[in-house]
Amino acid sequence: MPEWGIDSVRFSVFTDPNFVVPPTLWRDCVGDEPETSTYQRANATKVEVGPFAEGRLTLQVQPMRVDWVHEPLVSLGQQGVSVLGPFPDAADPLLDLSRRWASSNSFPGTPRIALGLVVSSSTTDRASGYRELANLIEGVPTNPEASDFMYQVNIPRTAHVDIAGLKVNRLSKWGVALIRQFVVAGTAAPTTQVVAPDIHCLRLELDINTNPDFEGLLPRRRVTAIIDDLFDGAKEICEGRINVR
């Protein structure tokens, strides 16, 4: 299996209609104030951003859902892919925050939760990326001119947490990506300047979530166990323990 680095981690909670998000949610979960806080009236969405575990944390509160996203900081001219760190350990800060929140009084009643991860692994070029992908998934093109290949599949399973009717979706999206850093300068006639060598990488987007047709709310005391179960679902894919072909 490739050595995956984590590009981003997301914890999403679908809320009960009667839940009112406390204005102090960031402080309650992170321990200090966010750097920025904005409210977009047109879509009733609040976005707060601040530093978190050598990266950047975003809290987005919108109708029906609350999302926490942990991403790395990106610096100009940086060599290599920006990642939080190696999978699975680099997911720990957000997982710890999620578990703490789930155990607190500010956690909403929820019918559905999700963990989203984007992981990547450096490769030489597009062709070698496709060759590596062919060891993991089906249908990778062999034509050397092929590009724009993408593979998406959901392999659901019953939740390991014993709750009647609870399932875990393991949605994965595979591809080869090119990362290019460049500066766009000027306003009247903008020009671009590439500031670092191109990087190719295998890219895997994971969306591990509980089933949308689950009836009622998830038992509050079991939510941390469900978070762990979702992360197990991510590991099952990243470590090649399930067949995604």
Partner: protein
């Protein structure tokens, strides 16, 4: 992700970076952009497109197992605004067609996950005439679509807490049309705090109807 870089669809940019001043470059403004592009020589052509690729949208809109946050496309948002504007001019009466009954089902079914925040904002907005908000809610209950069912129930149940009695009544009617007994608990908790006797009676009627369906 800009994987379909040979697509001509409007595409999502990974760049969400703040504008960054680069003093050393003696230029008026500069933006640092980190883009993840498809492994193709034509990837740079699409660096500045802002929205999701059509391909990505199709996949995600129809993927029930995806929980990726979604944003309404500018076109969808514009159509939602146009519908609201037309509804403001319409005479809204029970049983009569209007801009909402004509347009909302199609807009909602195109990408309900993306449109929910905008709809919720419209319903919550004090500048939206209550009769229009109520009509939106009634129509949401009318749409027959299993995929968006839970989302519509969520919108309707949350509207039971609104300040306007018109809107609360619209939500109750929407829930009656949705005919989902899973809404009974929300209706019962709304009855317990409903100050308006007429609406309380309406809510109770809906509870009785839904309870009848369970039997």
């Amino acid at each position: 992700m800009n994987e379909e870089s040979n697509s001509t669809a409007i595409g999502h940019s990974f760049s969400d970076k703040e504008p960054l001043e680069l003093t050393g470059l003696r230029r008026s403004a500069a933006v640092l952009a980190l883009h993840i592009l498809a492994a193709t020589t034509r990837g740079t052509q699409r660096c500045f497109y802002r929205e999701d690729t059509a391909g990505t949208q199709i996949i995600e809109a129809h993927s029930e197992s995806s929980t990726q946050p979604r944003k309404a496309s500018p076109e969808l948002q514009a159509r939602l605004d146009a519908m609201l504007e037309a509804a403001r001019r319409d005479i809204i009466e029970d049983g009569m067609r209007n801009a909402i009954t004509d347009q909302l089902p199609e807009l909602f079914l195109r990408d309900f996950n993306a449109i929910i925040p905008g709809l919720k904002a419209l319903i919550d907005n004090e500048r939206t005439p209550p009769i229009v908000a109520a009509e939106l809610l009634k129509e949401l209950g009318q749409i027959r679509d299993a995929t968006s069912h839970n989302s519509r129930r969520w919108l309707l149940a949350s509207a039971l807490n609104m300040a306007s009695p018109f809107v609360r009544d619209g939500a109750a009617l929407g829930l009656a049309r949705l005919a989902d007994p899973a809404a009974i608990d929300y209706l019962r908790s709304a009855i317990a705090k409903e100050p308006n006797a007429e609406i309380r009676a309406d809510l109770q009627l809906v509870v009785d109807e839904l309870a009848e369906e369970v039997r």
